[in-house]
């Protein structure tokens, strides 16, 4: 392969990039050996690349780094201020969470049943339940054993108010919901509520409110 001076001038930069076809590179080197002008172009370009590539070629002015860090520290300090704001917010949120936890613990105390003979629930129904203010048990809406004006509440609320599950309608409801052996009349009052809670969240967010 024979290359001309014009070919060398076009490819001289790629020659230094090391991205030439090996045969073309060999031909260029043969050309350099015979052409002093192109040899001078090559040597000059090598000088340029080496001199400008030296890391001491351009230097920032004195004090550049200190001034840069000063200016950055202003910004970072400002953001630390914001961080403090976040921390204050975080503490406030923590306090609220503690209050919530306290309320939850309070709710774990089992209230006195409205009727002495009532048995507490061991399994929580997953839907809103109906209670009658004068009554002592909570029901699935439409239960034939419920009389009077009723209101819908979550099972938690019903139990907190001292209502016990209706042995008839709630039994059927839990069984149809997949509880093969619903146990509405256990004796472990204290452990019943947490156990029930571990099975899932209260029905308030889980079920759609019936259209009543």
């Amino acid at each position: 392969m024979v290359v001309k001076c014009e070919d060398v001038w076009l490819e001289i930069s790629n020659y230094f990039e090391g991205k030439l076809d090996p045969a073309f590179k060999r031909a260029m080197e043969e050309h350099f050996a015979q052409c002093p002008q192109c040899g001078a172009v090559r040597d000059g370009m090598r000088n340029i690349i080496q001199l400008y590539g030296d890391e001491t070629m351009v230097n920032p002015p004195a004090g550049f780094y200190a001034r840069l860090h000063d200016r950055l520290s202003d910004q970072i300090e400002g953001q630390r201020g914001s961080l403090r704001g976040w921390l204050v917010g975080l503490v406030a949120t923590g306090a609220l969470a503690a209050l919530g936890l306290f309320a939850t613990v309070q709710n774990r105390f089992v209230p006195e049943p409205r009727a002495q003979m009532s048995q507490p629930a061991r399994r929580m129904p997953q839907q809103l339940v109906a209670i009658v203010d004068e009554g002592k048990t909570f029901h699935v809406p439409g239960c034939p054993y419920m009389h009077g004006k009723y209101r819908m509440v979550t099972p938690d609320e019903a139990i907190r108010e001292g209502y016990a599950p209706c042995n008839r309608c709630m039994y059927e409801s839990l069984r149809s919901a997949g509880n093969t052996e619903p146990d509405l009349d256990g004796e472990e009052i204290a452990s019943s509520m947490p156990a029930a809670k571990r099975e899932g969240p209260s029905g308030q967010n889980q079920v759609s409110r019936p259209g009543i």
Binding site: D43, G44, Y52, G53, P60, F64, R67
Partner: protein, 213 residues
Amino acid sequence: MPSSDPSHENETALIGRIQRGERELYYDLIRPYEKRVFVIAFTILRNEADAEDAAQDAFLKALKYLAQFRFESRFSTWLIQVAINEARQRQRKNHLEIMRPIEDQENEDGTYTPRDFADWREIPSEALERKEVREKLVAAFGSLAQKYREVFVLRDVEHLSIEDTSQVLGISVGAVKTRLLRARLMLRDLLSPGLEAISVSHSQIPKGTKPWS
């Protein structure tokens, strides 16, 4: 403890920690690039004071937007892009584009012919310790059109790859190669032979005799 010269892996971890709130680590992240950003800004603005302001602004902007950095490119590439944009913005603000050399608008279709074939003695790097040598090199570089300065500084001063240079500047690899070839040849002509010719400023070169025209 973050390294002062973090590898790419460490750098990624460092960025993650800064993004999660450890902002004081930003100093460690940018330490390897502080000079580089200044040099790039200086390349565009050709003025130390402006370059320093632009470099500071670039680092502040990078800090501000670091939370949005998604590792789609290397941090260094992203930071250099920020620096170039900042310097260009400042340049526009200073209306420096009015003074932009005419060859900035030239197309790159024509071939460049070296004008000086004088034999070069090898110039050792120690020559840079001499103030006048450094000044001549800087002056020659400053006489190039911006599009050549940008490519040259990224590839030959900052040693970015051709591909990264292309990505940073948003131009094709082919355009990078063409500009790089011209920049290298122009500098060679300006500095040849023996660094004597470079005192000729851009405006002093008679029309029609410019090596790249």
